[in-house]
């Protein structure tokens, strides 16, 4: 594999993982807010 390809592969992989983590964080924050405000579903 060319070095350039490896750089792109790693950047994409990291970007994908970062996106998933950010998404999970947003969901977690939502549920934390619900729990802190004491809203019962």
């Amino acid at each position: 594999m060319k070095l350039e390809d490896e750089v792109v592969r790693r950047q994409r992989e990291r970007a994908r993982i970062t996106a998933w983590l950010l998404g999970a964080f947003v969901v977690l924050l939502f549920f934390i807010t619900i729990a802190k405000t004491g809203i019962n579903w």
Binding site: L3, E4, R10, R14, I32, I34, A35, K36
Partner: protein
């Protein structure tokens, strides 16, 4: 853009597996487990999502400690067989990445803990990170053979943080849990350091077997196992845990002291002949897991 041959692997963006390895995931299990037990032993349970977030923050804080430790000790890690393949000494990652990752993760974990649970738990988490990085890694570890004794306090914080995250205040039982891990750390680490002594000597880290010698370390292991056993049964003696815990703690600690006595009796200096030390090290991990699990079970049975 033409492909450029790079002379150093670190010129590549770090692989996510290497970033994950910075957090020392294997060390994290024990931290998460003791933090979770501290929370589960508390008289009040927070909503599940807040409890989960508190444990997540403890794990992230431990990961931040691991990253900052590896950032600071990259040169030392390169000299030890056990650690030479880590991302920084192996040249797979830029040192600045580790620093930024560790600092960022520290702030993130403390802030999230404060927002999700309470600021006393966040302050304790911040204190544990600062203690581990500044007091243990930077100050004590390269200077004194007592590094593990005092530095062990950093690893003793998780059950206290878990309890405070659940209740909002400090109580005698989580302080005893702190004391148990604090007194457990020296015999646990010294047992390991006996059979990887040459690694520490090569890196110039003044671990007890390197500075004081093997017989002295064996004596210290045995001596520390006694107050550790006393601390382990203390929650029962003080009426903070029931007889199930008391009996289990007594049996588990008795076996620990017996194994420590076997280490004391061993005269071998060759790591290949240090079976008692290896056995004690493995048992010490089991001892902590079992003790905390029994404590939670006992508290739940009483409730």
């Amino acid at each position: 853009m033409p492909a450029v041959e790079l002379t150093q692997p670190a010129a590549l963006p770090a692989d996510w597996r290497d970033i994950l390895a910075l957090t020392k995931p294997r060390v994290m299990y024990l931290v998460v487990f003791t933090g979770l037990c501290g929370m589960l032993a508390a008289p009040a349970m927070p909503p599940a999502v807040l409890g989960f977030t508190a444990i997540l923050c403890i794990a992230l804080g431990a990961g931040a400690c691991g990253a900052l430790n590896q950032w600071y000790e990259a040169d030392l890690d390169a000299k030890m067989r056990r650690t030479a393949k880590r991302p920084l000494p192996a040249g797979r990652m830029d040192r600045q990445v580790a620093l930024h990752f560790g600092v960022g993760l520290s702030f993130f974990s403390v802030l999230l803990m404060g927002l999700a649970t309470n600021w006393l738990a966040a302050a304790l988490l911040a204190a544990s990170i600062l203690f581990y990085v500044l007091i243990y890694t930077v100050w004590l570890k390269p200077r004194t053979a007592q590094n593990i004794v005092i530095g062990g306090a950093a690893g003793a914080f998780p059950p206290l943080i878990g309890w405070v995250a659940a209740t909002g205040h400090i109580a005698p039982l989580p302080l005893l849990l702190f004391a148990i891990i604090f007194l457990w750390t020296p015999p646990h680490f010294w047992a390991l350091s006996l059979f990887v002594r040459s690694d520490y000597a090569a890196a110039g880290i003044p671990m007890l077997p390197v500075v004081a010698g093997i017989p002295s370390t064996r004596r210290q292991i045995f001596l520390y196992s006694l107050p550790m056993a006393a601390a382990a049964v203390a929650p029962w003696v003080l009426g903070l845990a029931g007889p199930v815990y008391g009996a289990s703690a007594a049996i588990l600690s008795f076996v620990f002291v017996v194994l420590a006595a076997r280490v004391l009796a061993n005269r071998a200096t060759d790591p290949a002949q240090m079976a008692p030390e290896k056995k004690l090290f493995a048992y010490s991990v089991f001892w902590l897991f079992a003790l905390f699990a029994v404590l939670v079970a006992d508290r739940w049975l009483a409730a």
